[in-house]
């Protein structure tokens, strides 16, 4: 392994998050004086970054922003450097240490329970799957995201060109179903399918092939694909 491989592997694991506390601290210190490592970390953040777009947003509690603004005000005042504000800051820090100590106690108490709950927790959140529909490896055209638990599906055009007088139609194909089942006509905006998918077994949804055909405007008049698919793909797990 060459040193540059080493740096890249370290940067990759740093961004993935699997380094331990000591290794993380070492990398954080090294990156400020090693431009190659810093660059490698930046590259990995960009490579893996799209995964973050799959995380469901969660609204933080009210008042958090006000607290952040107070911190900025305090930091600005500290920069002014009066003895008063420094004292305030020390008192604040002491309070935080106390809170942290209490939190650690609670954490230890919760540990035993936490281990037992782990498996349940894994399943309590929706796992999401993504299918990239493509003609060939170089031309992804649509992204289909599926939440198996609620059986809802969202399809987004990536690079599919609109065809005048034609419509793209999405199909669910699985041997268990016999003929392909239409999931609807895809426009240029993302759309979500809920009821259509809910009637299928999760196993069918997970193992199916998703295909897009180019149909007359408004979709296939017969309810079956009129032409062979232009883009196809299968689901890949996107969040655990």
């Amino acid at each position: 392994m060459t040193p540059s491989d080493d740096i890249d592997a370290l940067a990759a694991e740093y961004v993935l998050g699997t380094l331990d506390a000591t290794e993380r601290a070492t990398v954080a210190a090294r990156r400020s004086r090693e431009p190659a490592l810093d660059r490698a970390i930046g590259d990995w953040e960009v490579r893996l970054g799209p995964l973050s777009t799959m995380v469901p947003p969660l609204v933080p509690s009210d008042g958090l922003f006000a607290e952040i603004e107070r911190r900025l005000d305090r930091a600005a005042a500290d920069a002014g450097g009066s003895a008063d504000t420094r004292l305030v800051d020390l008192t604040r820090r002491l309070r935080r240490w106390r809170t942290a100590a209490v939190a650690f106690g609670a954490l230890a108490a919760g540990l035993a329970v936490g281990i037992g709950l782990r498996e349940t927790a894994m399943r309590s959140e929706p796992r999401s799957f993504v299918a990239v529909l493509q003609k060939d490896a170089a031309s992804p055209a649509f992204i289909v995201s599926v939440d198996l638990d609620t059986r809802s599906l969202t399809v987004r055009p990536v690079a599919a060109e609109p065809q005048p007088g034609k419509s793209y139609e999405l199909w669910l194909i699985n041997d268990a179903l016999g003929t392909p089942r239409s999931l609807g006509v895809i426009g240029q905006e993302p759309f979500t399918v809920r009821p259509a998918l809910a009637k299928y077994d999760p196993k069918v949804v997970e193992t199916a092939t998703y295909a897009v055909t180019l149909e007359p405007q408004g979709g296939s008049p017969t309810g079956k694909p009129t032409l062979p698919p232009v883009f196809v793909g299968k689901l890949i797990q996107a969040t655990p």
Binding site: A9, A12, E13, V15, L16, G17, T18, D20, A21, R24, A28, G42, E45, V46, R47, L48, G49, P50, L51, S52, T53, M54, V55, P56, P57, L58, V59, P60, S61, L64, F65, E67, I68, E69, F104, L107, I115, L117, R118, A121, E125, S128, V130, V132, Q134, A137, P140, I143, T150, T154, R156, V158, A159, P190, K234, I236, Q237, A238, T239, P240
Partner: protein
């Protein structure tokens, strides 16, 4: 509020010039995304609240360093958020599973469509996601799941070893191989 990557980059530029109003806009547009990310790793509201505050203070301090040519604003901010959350989760007992904690706080009706159609995920991000998913699709399912658990849940090598019944050293080898494979696939 609808924010595309481009006008988010403009807002970030203003934040870099110490514009507090722009900072409020940035928080408004991005805090639910970043909170979702740190909460998944930390699994506890109180800790996630504290970490999110530190993350935004850091974003305020570093906004002038943001380089739109290197990353989108949300990728840059998500990296700061993940780093802070991972430092926190590792600093605590190395093996405390984040997964069990905060279980009852996890909303059980997460709107998946809202997640994928989040205004920040403008179409320009989709192409990168598509390429990454294709490359992830090339990994064995077990290896892929390992990467996803590490990335989204902040699972340590030890926790992964336990889950996949493998020694820590093997986990490390698998992770590094998967990551190298991913890098090669993405550079094609």
């Amino acid at each position: 509020m609808l924010q595309t990557a481009q006008n988010l980059a403009d807002v970030m530029k203003r934040v870099g010039r110490r514009d507090r109003r722009a900072f409020a806009e940035l928080y408004q547009a991005t805090s639910a995304k970043l909170y979702g990310i740190v909460f998944r790793i930390l699994g506890e509201r109180a800790v996630a609240d504290e970490v999110l505050q530190e993350v935004y203070v850091k974003i305020w301090e570093r906004a002038a360093d943001f380089d739109a040519a290197r990353a989108s604003p949300i990728t840059w901010m998500a990296a700061i958020a993940r780093n802070r959350a991972l430092d926190e989760v590792r600093r605590r007992k190395p093996d405390v599973p984040a997964l069990g904690r905060g279980l009852d706080e996890m909303p059980d009706n997460l709107e998946f469509a809202a997640a994928t159609d989040h205004p920040l995920d403008a179409r320009e991000r989709s192409e990168e996601l598509a390429r990454l998913m294709l490359c992830l699709g090339g990994l064995e399912p077990n290896r892929r799941e390992m990467l996803l658990l590490a990335y989204y849940r902040g699972m340590s090598r030890e926790a992964l070893g336990e889950r996949f019944a493998a020694p820590v050293s093997t986990v490390k080898t698998w992770l590094r191989r998967s990551l190298a494979q991913l890098r090669d696939c993405l550079s094609r």
